[in-house]
Assembly symmetry: D2
Homo-oligomer: 301 residues x 4
Amino acid sequence: MTLTPEQKAEIEEARTETRPTRRVISEGMENRLYTAHEVLDHGLVRVIDYMGDDNAITQAARVSYGKGTKHVTNDEGLIRYLMRHWHSTPFEMCEVKFHVKLPVFVARQWIRHRTANVNEYSARYSILDREFYIPAPEHLAAQSTVNNQGRGELLQGEEAQRVLDILRDDATRAYDHYEDMLSQDGQKGLARELARMNLPANVYTQWYWKVDLHNLFHFLRLRADTHAQYEIRTYAEVMCDIVKDWVPLAYAAFEDYRMGGVNLSGKGVEVLKRRLAGEVVTQENSGMSKGEWREFEGVWG
Amino acid sequence: MTLTPEQKAEIEEARTETRPTRRVISEGMENRLYTAHEVLDHGLVRVIDYMGDDNAITQAARVSYGKGTKHVTNDEGLIRYLMRHWHSTPFEMCEVKFHVKLPVFVARQWIRHRTANVNEYSARYSILDREFYIPAPEHLAAQSTVNNQGRGELLQGEEAQRVLDILRDDATRAYDHYEDMLSQDGQKGLARELARMNLPANVYTQWYWKVDLHNLFHFLRLRADTHAQYEIRTYAEVMCDIVKDWVPLAYAAFEDYRMGGVNLSGKGVEVLKRRLAGEVVTQENSGMSKGEWREFEGVWG
Amino acid sequence: MTLTPEQKAEIEEARTETRPTRRVISEGMENRLYTAHEVLDHGLVRVIDYMGDDNAITQAARVSYGKGTKHVTNDEGLIRYLMRHWHSTPFEMCEVKFHVKLPVFVARQWIRHRTANVNEYSARYSILDREFYIPAPEHLAAQSTVNNQGRGELLQGEEAQRVLDILRDDATRAYDHYEDMLSQDGQKGLARELARMNLPANVYTQWYWKVDLHNLFHFLRLRADTHAQYEIRTYAEVMCDIVKDWVPLAYAAFEDYRMGGVNLSGKGVEVLKRRLAGEVVTQENSGMSKGEWREFEGVWG
Amino acid sequence: MTLTPEQKAEIEEARTETRPTRRVISEGMENRLYTAHEVLDHGLVRVIDYMGDDNAITQAARVSYGKGTKHVTNDEGLIRYLMRHWHSTPFEMCEVKFHVKLPVFVARQWIRHRTANVNEYSARYSILDREFYIPAPEHLAAQSTVNNQGRGELLQGEEAQRVLDILRDDATRAYDHYEDMLSQDGQKGLARELARMNLPANVYTQWYWKVDLHNLFHFLRLRADTHAQYEIRTYAEVMCDIVKDWVPLAYAAFEDYRMGGVNLSGKGVEVLKRRLAGEVVTQENSGMSKGEWREFEGVWG
């Protein structure tokens, strides 16, 4: 990551100051605040602000449950109950704001999650920095031969080197030309909103991204999943660690019911019941297609 | 308002404690936190939590503007610029959570604003309190004779008294019967989810309502407007005062450009230009319908 | 249901006319169009318009999959794949608009689904009809003794009769008084926006409700579920039948993966694997709470 | 635009067939259906489906207004009233689905409008075509010297030529390298999800985009505005023409109240009133900043 000494000093200073507040705080999240967590070669995730903690979830739920809740004696039980039964609104009562630096092709996947607030650095208005994502050798994978949207084996030797050379050279040339076109040295200089079109999708951008906990969990379930593209998954994993410190009870319920859970179809339920009754079930008599059966066996053997 | 001594003590206690935080704070909002602001006869508005301040708006905007912003030298100018040009995303970077107690017919108008998070006290799960909104005499208005969805003169004397008696008696009887049907004393007791259907629309409900500043401004513009029904407007007005303390610069811009502003149609612009050029324009040669002209004259004479 | 002869004739006439269109059509949905499906004692569901069919889902998905899709040979397989992997955006490409007449307490649950478009009959502007929901005897249930938000046994004999009498009498009186307060006969007449507050939550309202297929499925999964309150569930069930005719392949996938499916937690997966391996697992050594275990046994015995 | 003969034939065929429907139709929109409207050098906008017409707007509004509407005698007046008073929900009752082909940097602006449904061609799954946006000479503008996010004079002669050469050469080289990296000829071939990062922001992508009329108007107000970047504005203008054919009354109201209208601040209203009263107002005594005054004079002289 390439923070300037000035930026580092600014972050450090922001972390030093504290002020008294009447609001609830999360100790785990206070420790995370402002710290620039490195992701990929030049990316970062920083928590800029947050609202609420585990208790804010049950407090909101208890308005909706009112006096009847006395026998749900503890927050953990109630949080697990809410997660299990898809009561999503209490989780919406927590909010978090991140500053994220990320390659444009990752940003394009990320923005598909619509229920969030975003302010992105504008390349119409400003000039982007000379920073590009170049995969580390251990992530330079070939196209999967079984999955149209996945990766297979790692590239090796000359092929790997050639790819890295191409990515580096093309990014460098594109950025040189971007500067040439913008330059007002002896010429008018192309409009920024036009010049940016020459930059490749691995150039880094930045944004402020604010989201509630329910929608963040939805994002993390899809993007920290093993089927997500590695480059966005690595952001999601850093955010999982942060959320775990922020709302430990809610995160534990999320891990059990969402990340570690399995959705069974009606057909899947039937097959498992037949198996539990001792029957040997095959794809042919399962009622599932080959693809479904392969996924089913992936979990249940 | 009817807070129990226990509830008052709980609120007072919450206001006493402070904790250190690294987050930005708004001094004006810290003073508002938890205080139960009275609305109508039994209603309330309380701030439960908030995120951000005026500076959080420009900080987010400056990510989207980056290095180019150095000549927009101050926060106030930038906030006014953003409001004037409908750049809504920086205002979405502030968030607030309210606890609101309100009559059901007000809640039904309120909930039409969809971009917010809500947890409502559940009458399926719990038993509602015996609290109903009865208008004060100065709000007991007749149907408007010119506006199908507005109020006209105040009711007087016997008619006013009769209306108040009806509202009180019917609410009392409905609640007595609600309790009778629920009672498990010598009978099974009707399910709560069914018994509630006997309660009238002036019964009070409660919810936690969380919203970002942009969407809150949109809510306030419509609901603090003179055309809004008085009962919801009085909630909006209390919230305007709170927002003014929270983000004074943003609120001032909102007041100038939205609450105090006027939307002119293309036809309206033409008429004003003709007037500025000295022409006397009438409805007949304005191109406007009678209704539009009446509204136009309401502003411009 | 209480449609006037004029309303019936109007609906019949709308069903008679056809016009040529270049758009895709769904034969099953054309047969449903405009028909007033009766729900509860005075409620209705009518399809007013729709966009798309099963093929519109795969057509949209194939833009996102482009040239790579040639080996997904049929629509059914692709639709099942999309549903199984939570690819929700292709299902958003179908849209439907309903006219619904429903009691206010049902409307209040319904409106919590925010991702939809709504126009409700305004009791600020107009006068509501004298129509109230009174449960049929077979739905007049006592409060559940095990579930705070559920129903138990049916009320019998005198208690049932007394409840029905209360609901009918209070609704009648409330409506009589509503008319009395509104009346401009020898008096000013209370504003409509105030008079409506006397009406109970079983009064019928009406709205146009428009939603995309993905969000409709989400609504149906929660509201056609056995845990939903009967009164909203009966609307959801009628809508399930309509959707089945509209997009039969998507509905079949929805039935298998959502309505008939089961979400297992990580702990639930472990328990099933231990059972499949021949172990006898009890609540005590399952890692689950008593409540979770009861729900788990409800499915798996 | 570069449609293959096969694609042209497919579109032509889709336009030829008609089917009977009971739904409302818009004649103007039927004529537009499927036609590929050319935008920029390789882009297109096609209507794939639509729901509703002008009458669907007033029909929905009349549910919300019910019996009280008899004196709003015509659809045009009611539509203008709804637009003038920001009653947005009736306009949400119309829906349209577009197929759009557009450069990635335009897609990135477009997607910021969150209240829409999108399915984009996936470069993780498929291989993008060799098509890049190269500005026509009459759009090759220099950076504005007065507006940080705008264009100034046109580039001329050698500078213009050099920019066009750079854009063409870099795009060609980037695409050649994209193919080289993907190639499985004598090598493994880089994963598609990685190779795409070498492509510049002027490469074309495609999506299905579905939106309701209210949100489409919001999009058009911002993107057909003279301050919008030319490349997205040209798409918005084509869509304005289409919407005009689809819902002529709603579009006329939109033109008058939104596109041709002006938002005055409270300060602006005061200044105009002083001018109407004969006073000469200057920036100094207007209460406005220099920037605001410049914008104000831009409209009012």
